[in-house]
């Protein structure tokens, strides 16, 4: 009995909110006040952050690599689009949840394929699923609108009160609230005994099975949950842009997501959020400087990031905050720990 108590005590202890986390969310809240004219790009970042969070759940906690996460994003996007277009469910919030469930169903059924392989096979299988979805979308262009996308989606006001405006204000707050709620849920889950068992699986599936963790069932559960998150991200995309075209299934979408996590790091939930901010801002800055050759610069920066290593960059970026902490609080400054040492 005491062992189980220890597990939950330790889980609860690691799940306590830290000051830096609070600061992070306060900063996020401050963004719309600081940059009132940049709602659209911020909404874009929030959607990408949620999408990256969903990949982090399986990659960072369960060790499942995926190059086809766009499949769930796309299913969510098209579900939300079709629901709104045909007036089946007019209330965006309900439609959002339904779209999430649609992606979840696909996630549940494809999870059986995914748990069968190891890393390389998983990459192939997930990639294949996304390509299949894209081809299906192309084939049934009478439903999906094919390359032209779903035309004429009109979103009803949120909860019947808040209409989506041209400046993207409603869309931004909507995305932010959804992201925060889902983040809380994800945070709760990864700090639960369930989350701890996932980490055990990631570190060593054989040993995890030996101590009695039902490996496959856990993987199916988290993969399905991750599909739900991705579906919600997709639905948010359609609802805030009133668009859905075949690009939602594209390989680039899944690949970008990997890049986001490469930048932000995995296994601590904030990686996707931070990565999304950095990735989008890099894109934005380079696109403004050189609309034609920005892809080159993005590539270069990514190579540099990987070469220099995240840990070293953290140290550089933390130099200023550390200095402030040392001067003001007289406290010992935080030190950088290589990511592999983190729990």
């Amino acid at each position: 009995m005491s062992a189980s108590n220890d597990v939950s005590t330790s889980a609860m202890a690691s799940g306590r909110w830290r000051i830096s986390e609070v600061v992070f969310w306060v900063l996020v809240l401050a963004c719309p006040l600081l940059f009132p004219s940049r709602y659209l790009i911020m909404t874009d970042i929030l959607r990408l952050a949620l999408f990256a969070l969903s990949l982090d759940l399986i990659l960072g906690y369960a060790g499942i690599v995926s190059l086809g996460h766009a499949a769930f994003f796309g299913v969510g996007a098209y579900s939300a689009g079709l629901l709104a277009l045909h007036g089946i469910i007019n209330e965006p919030v309900i439609a959002l949840v339904v779209a999430g469930f649609a992606a979840m169903v696909l996630g549940f059924f494809t999870s059986f394929l995914v748990i069968r392989g190891v890393d390389l096979t998983r990459l192939m299988v997930t990639l294949g699923i996304a390509l299949l979805m894209e081809a299906l979308g192309e084939r049934f262009s009478n439903i999906t609108g094919g390359t032209d996308g779903l035309q004429g989606i009109e979103m009803q006001p949120l909860l019947g009160m808040f209409a989506f405006d041209m400046f993207g204000k409603t869309g931004f707050w909507y995305c932010l609230i959804v992201l925060f709620l889902l983040f809380l849920l994800a945070r709760r889950i990864v700090h639960s005994p369930f989350g701890l068992s996932l980490r055990a699986i990631r570190n060593n599936p054989l040993r995890a099975a030996a101590i009695g963790i039902p490996v496959n069932r856990r993987l199916i559960a988290v993969y399905t949950l991750s599909a739900f998150y991705a579906g919600i991200a997709g639905a948010l995309f359609t609802q805030t842009t009133a668009l859905a075209s075949l690009d939602v299934f594209s390989f680039e979408k899944s690949a970008d997501l990997m890049l986001v996590l490469v930048i932000g790091g995995t296994g601590y939930l904030y990686g996707g959020l931070i990565g999304a901010v950095v990735f989008k801002m890099l894109q934005e800055v380079f696109q403004t400087i050189t609309p034609q050759y920005w892809l080159f610069w993005i590539g270069l920066v990514l190579v540099v990031i990987v070469l220099v290593g995240r840990a070293r960059m953290h140290r550089w970026a933390l130099w200023l905050p550390n200095l402030v902490i040392r001067r003001l609080a007289g406290r010992k400054a935080v030190v950088v720990v290589p990511e592999s040492d983190a729990s």
Binding site: V23, L40, V277
Partner: protein, 393 residues
């Protein structure tokens, strides 16, 4: 657990820096701003490049000041992805306070921006996309490119009258492709022709080989082809590889497939292809000769019809500004543009005051060798063709 603290404070710094970089200074300038949204990367990049070049060329020639106001172009890449287009257009209107949005490489991109033009009362100049419905989506849309209906109806009539009985069609599966197919079919079958095989190829995946085999088996007199600008080269390569150039099957279609941009590299397989289109680099007018020479000198390539769409688009903006005396009120600008007539490198053109769509000559051309290079040589002209694809009201 300190990793978490570290990365979070890193995140905080990161966000602060990033957003600082993103917040553009909003300086109050007197210049007229034009948001040019084009696919500069990805499969449609050739369209974006041509238009961007043409706009630059025009501004070099005519100066960057109109009616006492400086013209400022803000070029953005949307990669021909409609949700990018929409976000970019929105940001240009809201943040950069542009007075025009222009460009739009593909139909979905133009449609995505249409509601914004209406809401913001901003003239939207479509310089490339060619589906008929575009100008109906907002009263602020004016088009300087073409519509597929214009060239497809004419090639349909021409084919029926010139001894072509059986035609197989190959079109890209998206709105302009369907427009091209439907208008061709309508006029060709009305003239007594027969469609023996109909194939639609996915836009994103231009591997024509399996489709070409079906074409070959159908043994038509001619093959009606529409692929968007930029894919024509690839198409003709596979056409020759499959030996269709020796099978006696003629290539006909709207001129997109024989884009001047790529034509010279297609090889002799392209010889004899008959297309109906708005522009050929070989158009025999003094103005066009000058335009082609200037374009070649500046960018070391031949201008195609996309370049002309961009050239005329920026010309239209200049002329409208002259008419309003530099005022940038959206309604006044649109009113000024309606009915405007001018001489373009492609020939005489005007803006239909009712539909805000372009009225232009459509030429029937045949690919021939001129001075060792392949050109679309015009041999028949249909004057002042309107878009017949508008919804009947």
């Amino acid at each position: 657990m300190s990793i978490r603290t570290d990365l979070l404070s890193l995140a905080a710094t990161g966000i602060a820096l990033a957003v600082a970089a993103g917040a553009a200074p909003a300086s109050a300038q007197e210049s007229v701003k034009i948001g040019l949204i084009l696919p500069m990367t990805g499969g449609q990049a050739s369209t974006g490049k041509q238009i961007d070049n043409a706009v630059k060329l025009y501004m070099q020639q005519k100066g960057d000041t109109v009616a006492g106001r400086k013209i400022e172009i803000i070029l953005k890449d949307d990669g021909a992805v409609p949700d990018n287009t929409k976000r970019i257009a929105q940001e240009l209107i809201v943040n950069d306070k542009v007075n025009f949005i222009a460009g739009f490489g593909v139909t979905p991109a133009a449609l995505a921006a249409a509601p914004l033009a209406t809401q913001g009362k901003i003239p939207q100049i479509v310089m490339a996309a060619g589906t008929s419905i575009i100008t109906e989506r907002s009263p602020y849309i004016v088009r300087t490119s073409f519509t597929l209906a214009q060239s497809s109806t004419i090639i349909g009539d021409w084919a029926a009258k010139n001894g072509i009985k059986k035609v197989a069609t190959l079109t890209s599966d998206y709105a302009p492709g369907n427009d091209a197919l439907n208008f061709f079919k309508q006029n060709f079958t009305a003239g007594g022709g027969e469609i023996v095989e109909e194939v639609k190829v996915p836009l994103a995946n231009p591997d024509f080989a399996p489709f070409l085999q079906r074409m070959k088996d159908a043994k038509p007199d001619a093959m009606f082809v529409f692929v968007p600008a930029g894919q024509g080269g690839n198409f003709m390569k596979q056409f020759a590889e499959r030996g269709l150039d020796k099978s006696g099957i003629k290539v006909i279609g709207p001129g997109d497939v024989m884009d001047d941009d790529l034509l010279n590299n297609m090889g002799d397989a392209a010889l004899g292809a008959v297309t109906a289109h708005l522009y050929s680099a070989a158009h025999p007018s003094a103005m066009n000769k000058e335009f082609v020479a200037a374009y070649k000198k500046a960018f070391n390539s031949r201008p195609g019809f996309m370049a002309v769409g961009g050239y005329d688009g920026i010309h239209l903006i200049y002329e409208a500004l002259k008419k309003t005396g530099g005022k940038t009120d959206g309604d006044a600008l649109i009113a000024a543009m309606k009915g405007m007539k001018w001489e373009s490198p492609r020939g005489p053109i005007s803006i239909d005051p009712e539909t805000r769509d372009i009225v232009q000559n459509i030429y029937i051309r045949k690919v021939e060798k001129v001075d060792g290079e392949l050109y679309n040589v015009e041999f028949a002209t249909f004057e002042a063709v309107k878009d017949s694809g508008k919804t009947k009201k």
